[in-house]
Symmetry: C2
């Protein structure tokens, strides 16, 4: 009961914030006009994206109905197949809904925060933050309400719930993958193209209204960073709950409670996030970055208290609480270390900025190297969190080794859940970033005064810091979640009568692992090449407009670029590029499974987890530090704006764009989708796989 | 007996080639002067490097004598400890000797090939190739002779030989690691600095004698690409033989033959390489790249025939021959696919060159993406080779599962050996590259005619193609070798009474694996940051010379830059930077082992193998394709030399330099060293490790 009630509380709090944002004034006609262009572009993109995805979802739902949980021609319960297809569609609908809600309010909050910035930082900040909080609370509220609904309908006996929540989670994840990849390609196409022609070739400022790509760039912040990122965390959040439920339904644990504990903890996490979000505020000369981080710490603290009370009151073993807290702590540690690698006053950014004086190549090498170096602490953090959670919960099984292992892997799943428990606030902080980035853009385009722009700049900087921390959090949480999902996959296979260990020296596990290592690399390459191709088309269009529209370059009164054309190119290109990469990830999983069997697929998932954690951390942190090195130079260091060092730093920043906003974050979702596909099909794969059928494995 | 005889044949053939190269004329006074400057610089570097390394080797040897195979205070056979220390020193001596011999002849062959280029391609080519072949044959000859010697002294009974050959291999590898990392830092420091100041800032051609870094750059080709690369393959070669010997000494196989088969196959590989090398020749208007590749195929074919005869004559099971041939075939396939990603007429290079028109950032993103994509085929190749070799040899064990597994992993080791069997020729082709690159430099600096420079250019291009293939080969072979070494590590632990499976869901294995994934990234970062730091020092010096030496920039008659100063900066910097990264790799292995125990260390090695294969393939291929995209533009495409596209491509090429010549290839050696350290200390780690002592694992 805690879960649906908390979910409703969260949705109500979200509606309150929405009402708060909506009642604010949205400023001058010019501001309204710009905001409306952004909103129109963003809605147009989402509408076209969802139109494509509806077809995809329907096709996959049909396949599920035909094949899962058992081929429809061979099952005595065809209704189960229909239920599974429905749960899948419901999951993707919930994911789309959360993204859409977040984006709707973001495109309202941006202009209102810009307008309020005229009355000072402390007026503008809550609009930006609460706009983001709508998204954050929608993600957790809808996510948990959805899981609770599926559970309420199918949950007795507990083992029956598994295929249904898996299908729900798979629906959420597959939609998230497209939303993240599509939005990521869109946003970076627009960003890179606008920068390369505007800043580099013509030396006009960022967000200059003469630039034909400026609206597309602002739209990109919304569809990529708000809707896409919301979908990303929606998917990790739901997957972590589902992984814990699957492991909690193990016969060895023999108690329905273990299926429900994840729902209880998740519900309490939501309450903590709502309270935390309400405490976030900043004074007239306050520090918005500090306010966001303080909100995070408050939420963590409240979560710790609430879950301790629940554990005591409901009589759960204390070890489970311990596992959740271990995950939460690891999340904070990972966030802080990624902050080190992207902070403007720490060695990585300082050295990369300094290296820019020697030209773009040395800037790239330096930033890339620090990005490589940055992976060590998060990986150790994930490793220790998983091992400690395992060790804490292992003794619950007493002297029975098999049962101890069940408890122990359940502990890993709870650690993942603990890390994601505060996701309501994480998403709020994260969505705050693109909202105030938009505010800055609107302030510049509508000719507000220098002081107002300075205020929006201050807000924007805080967004970047908060983003670095939450990104580290998101990757760490995804890492633990997919480890839990791997355990869930193993559990499902073993319930289907196929007990298996993923021994790395087993030839099929090794084969799978080596192939798995390659898939995230190929996936990243495909989305980044998509950005490159798309950007080339858009750059040609921007150059054409500057060449062919008389007076545009000089900024003649009344001359306007054709913004809609750029929005359209970004939209069409993103939709064309997002599908192949996502399909490769899903199909590779199915091929490895149906050819090589469970061992190969387990190895494949493990290899893919290792490789995508490595690449995601590298890309997120390298991208963030290149961005901040450029900002540091723009603040006057190493020659300031327009210097050779600045040009070099812009190259690094541009390389970092698809790293940190397209490929890096999509990898989280990709690996979750792959893990869920494996679990969905595990029972079928046990029965049908080529090498076993040929007697070769 | 086949092994030492083949090794001697190889050394004799090497001496014949050396004599052939040495008797050629070395041209004009100016040419001799330049060649002598390169030789002096290269010798100075090696001398200083070896001076540092001797201290390191002595310290490690002392530690080995004290602690291994058992602590000297607790053993009844202290002589064994001394023997181990001696074998270690012998291994590092052999590795250094092979590198030194190769480099000595390379610094003779370069100028002689440049001189012979005046009489045509078919006169110059054999000098370049045979110069490289001395290195190739020295590597395999010395390597195999060394292992055979250690075996002959300690080889009865076969199990006694294991610690000794391990120590020999560890000696070879640790020296190789330093040689590769040090040489790689040196060569790229010089290359990047020379290019950035010369080509980019002052727009003077490559290899222009006015550039103060030009001699350092030519020296770098020798110490990095010849001596370093020779050491790298020396280490993989020895390690693959040793891994097969360890697995072949398993009690289950119960026959001394299995320890000797690797030596027999390696010996036959050498004979094949000698015959192959003798067949390499090219006509007056012939195609040197084709000649090199033809030599490779001839060698593979002869190896197949010779080993088939030996298998039949000596009555080895045919499955073992099959495993070796599987490895060899996989090597060829990997080589061909990496050729695709770096060829001037294939999509990756063409698209990257095209992307350069949009500026350096898009060039980087495109090249990096293709680099990511390129990892898939080699990884699948390694995966299938390992799985097939395993499956082929598994039935040899009959119905006994444990014995079948012993045969099967022995099969993997033989596949690695098969892939490395033709290493004599691979190294010859690879060393050919820097020799003719030097020839081109000497031809330009000594003012030979345009036609002669064109001939050296032709030779140089063939070197680049051959290099791409052999690099793929080297990484693939290292991959299989370290998998075999992981099996060897497991075997050694199990003989010490600790039977263990590396199940990825075991918490210590998982912990180790996640940390292992991070280490290659940190290692790469450290060596690349080393290059960056070193290049900044050197760039400052080059700029100073152009500023302070009157007439230098204008190229006034008689004005010469201070070449020696640049050589010195590169040397001192490389020595300072090479140590920390290498120590991190070794110490991380020991810490994980002595804290977490055998499971953690096994997971650690597996994680490090996955991550370093991914990074090494990415870096080698991305670096190669950026290089060739630049060359394509220089040949006149997309605006040709001096265009904006060319400038962008130069940035990509510069970023690729430390990727492909410093970090990428060092990773091979790093992972071998880590695997050998683990095996060396396995017995001690079984007895002493923190978490077991605390009762936590």
């Amino acid at each position: 009961m805690i879960a649906p009630i908390s979910a409703l509380v969260s949705i109500i709090a979200g509606l309150y914030f929405y009402y708060f944002v909506n009642k604010q004034d949205s400023g001058t006609e010019r501001m309204k006009e710009i905001a409306s262009a952004i909103k129109t572009g963003a809605n147009a993109f989402l509408k076209r994206e969802y139109t494509v995805l509806v077809m995809f979802v329907v096709v996959v739902a049909a396949l599920i109905v035909v094949f899962l949980p058992a081929p429809i021609w061979s099952t005595s319960e065809p209704l189960k197949n229909v239920a599974l297809g429905t749960a899948y569609m419901f999951g993707s609908f919930c994911s789309a809904l959360a993204g859409f809600m977040g984006m709707s309010v973001a495109t309202k909050a941006n202009v209102r925060a810009a307008n309020a910035a005229q009355q000072g930082l402390n007026k503008a900040f809550p609009i930006g933050f609460r706009g983001g909080a709508v998204m954050g609370l929608a993600v957790v509220g809808i996510g948990l309400l959805g899981v609770s609904t599926v559970f309420a309908i199918t949950g007795v006996p507990p083992t029956e719930v598994i295929p249904a929540v898996l299908a729900y989670s798979f629906g959420a994840s597959s939609l998230s993958l497209f939303a993240k990849a599509g939005g990521g390609i869109y946003t970076k196409t627009a960003d890179i193209s606008a920068d390369l022609v505007g800043k580099v070739e013509l030396s006009i400022p960022e967000d200059d209204p003469r630039n034909p790509a400026v609206i597309a760039d602002n739209v990109g912040d919304n569809v990529g960073d708000v809707a896409g990122m919301g979908a990303d965390l929606f998917d990790s959040y739901v997957a972590s709950i589902v992984a814990a439920m699957i492991l909690g339904s193990a016969p060895a644990l023999s108690s329905a409670t273990y299926v429900q504990i994840p729902l209880v903890f998740a519900g309490l996490g939501i309450l903590a996030a709502v309270i935390g979000a309400l405490t976030v505020r900043v004074g007239a000369k306050g520090d918005p970055g500090g306010a966001l981080n303080a909100g995070t710490y408050v939420t963590c603290f409240i979560f710790g208290i609430l879950t301790a009370i629940a554990t005591w009151y409901l009589g759960f073993p204390w070890q489970l609480w311990g596992a959740a807290i271990v995950g939460l702590t690891a999340g904070i540690v990972i966030g802080i270390t990624s902050d080190y690698f992207t902070s403007e006053d720490k060695a990585p950014v300082l050295k990369t900025a300094e290296a820019s004086e020697t030209g773009p190549a040395v800037n790239i090498i330096t930033g890339f190297s620090y990005g490589l170096r940055s992976v060590i602490f998060p990986l150790i953090g994930i490793a220790i969190a998983a091992a400690v959670a395992y060790k804490i919960c292992y003794p619950l099984g007493g002297s029975d080794t098999a049962m101890s292992v069940e408890y122990a892997v359940y502990g890993i799943a709870l650690a993942a859940l603990g890390m994601l428990s505060i996701v309501g606030l994480t998403v709020s902080n994260d969505a705050y970033g693109p909202i105030v980035d938009n505010s800055k853009g609107i302030a510049e385009q509508s000719g507000l005064s220098e002081e107002v722009i300075a205020v929006t700049d201050e807000l924007d900087k805080a967004g970047n810091t908060a983003k670095a921390i939450t990104k580290g959090f998101a990757i760490g949480a995804a890492g633990l979640t997919v480890i839990a999902l791997l355990a869930a996959f193993q559990e499902i296979a073993s319930r289907a009568g196929y007990n298996v260990a993923f021994d790395i020296m087993h030839p099929m596990v090794l084969l799978g692992a080596l192939i798995g290592v390659a898939v995230p690399a190929v996936f990243s390459a495909m989305v980044m090449l998509g950005v490159g191709r798309n950007a080339q088309r858009m750059i040609a269009e921007i150059r054409r407009q500057f060449r062919e529209i008389p007076g545009l370059r000089e900024g003649k009164e009344g001359v306007k670029p054709d913004y809609a054309k750029c929005v359209d190119i970004a939209t069409v290109g993103a939709l064309r590029e997002l599908m192949p990469a996502s399909l490769v990830a899903i199909l590779a999983t199915l091929i490895v499974g149906f050819v090589g069997g469970i061992e190969a697929l387990g190895g494949f998932l493990a290899g893919a987890i290792f490789s995508s954690l490595l690449l995601a951390l590298l890309m997120a942190n390298a991208g963030g530090l290149w961005d901040n090195a450029k900002k540091l130079i723009e603040s006057g260091k190493h020659g300031g704006k327009g210097s050779e060092a600045h040009k070099a730093a812009v190259v690094g920043d541009t390389v970092g764009d698809p790293f940190k906003d397209t490929a890096g974050p999509s990898l989280n979702t990709m690996i979750t989708v792959m893990s869920l596909v494996a679990s969905m099909f595990a029972v079928l794969i046990v029965q049908y796989n080529l090498l076993h059928l040929l007697g070769l494995a």
